[in-house]
């Protein structure tokens, strides 16, 4: 049986991890390669890197850090942030990324999803959507959650899948940062129609939140979190142990 995946997400600025904390046996908490190796050893099933570098001149630092990660971490790597063209896909894929996540640029230019899926295969194209309730409706936000597009999130995600997105990262802005659990109603609404894997993001505050996620939304494939793992509040091994005790299929940490 296929395992439910646990995915830590790392924000990288100018080639360094933002918001790192001190872990045992980890010399440099801001080193993407060291943190990636640490997470991989701890049982992460996959890693997501978001490049939040503001200036174009520093973009090269991100690809260099990606290469360093891919030289020592052998689990799937997804890259997002600042992906605006097929050339951007090409650049990160050549540095060891397996999947590329698109967000704001796909809203501006939905054809990018089609083109990328045609050239690299759907398995490579991840549609990431920042979603927030506005007047009781799910809206898509862009530019790091600063701008309401007015788009209906469920329709947009369906369109993205039809265009060739092979996976969905569903980030709920309503639950993000609140640490009271994932946005189960939103996730169930998307899982009701999605033929491709759905990755839940936003709201994890403790190990039990992952158990609740997979029990209440059995069609969700993976849970993604950033701060609770970075700040050491929750260990991945702890999450997996609790999932296993609750009969949820997991890949055991070796």
């Amino acid at each position: 049986m296929i395992s439910k995946r646990i995915i830590p997400c790392l924000d990288v600025r100018n080639g360094r991890v933002v918001k790192g904390i001190q872990f045992e046996n980890l010399k440099d908490v801001s080193s993407p390669a060291e943190l990636a190796a640490f997470y991989s050893e701890s049982g992460a099933d996959e890693l997501v890197f978001y490049d939040i570098t503001a200036s174009a001149e520093h973009r090269g630092l991100f690809t260099e850090c990606l290469r360093k990660v891919a030289r020592r971490v052998f689990i799937p790597l997804t890259v997002g942030g600042g992906i605006n063209s097929l050339e951007d896909f090409d650049t990160v894929l050549k540095c060891g990324a397996d999947k590329v996540s698109v967000n704001s640029c796909a809203v501006r230019n939905p054809g990018l999803i089609d083109e990328a899926a045609r050239r690299y295969g759907s398995q490579c194209v991840v549609l990431s959507a920042d979603v927030k309730r506005v007047d009781g409706q799910f809206h898509v936000f862009v530019r790091g959650g600063r701008e309401d597009t007015g788009l209906d999130a469920l329709k947009w995600i369906k369109e993205g899948i039809d265009r060739g997105a092979g996976e969905i990262v569903l980030n709920s802005m309503d639950t993000d940062g609140v640490k009271q659990g994932f946005d189960l109603p939103l996730l169930n609404a998307v899982c009701a129609f999605s033929p491709v894997p759905v990755i839940a993001s936003g709201g994890a505050g403790c190990a039990q939140d992952f158990v609740t996620l997979f029990k209440q939304c059995p069609k969700v494939d993976a849970g993604l979190a950033a701060s609770i793992f970075h700040f050491g509040e929750v260990r991945i091994s702890e999450v997996k142990q609790l999932m296993k005790q609750n009969g949820i299929p997991v890949r055991e940490v070796i």
């Binding site: 296929i2 891919a70 052998f74 689990i75 690299y120 490579c124 890949r251």
Partner: protein
């Protein structure tokens, strides 16, 4: 030297890195002469079967791979590279493969019930069939990373491992010096590295 066949598909950076991580020198090459000179050959691949088969024919890479295999050079196909080892595929029409392993590639939907998603994306356990040197460091149930909608069938004689995804799915095949993994060993953590190590080190591939 291990030659990783470069025909424009797949994450070759990670594949090369995984071999160097286990102390093996691997060269990414699209040169038939380098493939024929290699001690071992890895045929990677992602995407659609037809496109990949066409790309492989450019510059005669398909002939070089078959010739190397015919000489007894150990060959490992990974993901789509494994599917290319079969006689044919039914992905978007019928396409001819390299014919190094008897069998054909079909949609998993014939085995997988409608309620399960395709492609299968994620970590799943291996059910090992018999003992094969490729899996000498692998235990029953060890998990590896899969991304695929199609799989090999009519290949009972060369089946090395299966995985359970709503039914029994072909996970690995082998016939003498020709082997294939449907999963990505270069993305399967320690379990995957141990499989690559076994491929790189084992001399005798007879079952």
């Amino acid at each position: 030297m291990i030659a990783i066949v470069d025909y424009g598909v797949g994450n070759l950076f990670s594949l090369k890195s995984s071999f160097s991580f286990i102390g093996q020198e691997a060269e990414v090459t699209g040169d038939p002469a380098r493939i024929l000179a290699a001690d071992r050959v890895v045929l990677p691949g992602v995407g659609a079967f037809g496109d990949a088969a066409d790309k492989l024919r450019v510059n005669g890479l398909d002939k070089a791979v078959c010739e190397a295999a015919g000489r007894g050079t150990p060959l490992l196909g990974i993901c789509l590279g494994m599917q290319l080892l079969f006689e044919c595929s039914e992905e978007f029409g019928t396409h001819k493969g390299l014919g190094l392993i008897p069998g054909r590639v079909v949609s998993m939907r014939s085995v997988v019930p409608e309620e399960l998603k395709l492609p299968q994306i994620g970590w799943n356990g291996l059910h090992l069939i018999g003992t094969h040197p490729l899996f000498r460091n692998t235990r029953e149930g060890d998990q590896v990373y899969f991304v695929h909608s199609f799989h090999g069938t009519d290949c009972a004689d060369s089946l090395l491992a299966t995985t359970e995804y709503g039914g029994s799915i072909t996970a690995a095949v082998g016939k003498a010096n020709v082997m294939g993994c449907q999963f990505h060993p270069e993305k399967s953590g320690k379990v995957g590295l141990s499989i690559l190590k076994a491929f790189a080190e084992t001399e005798n591939y007879s079952c």
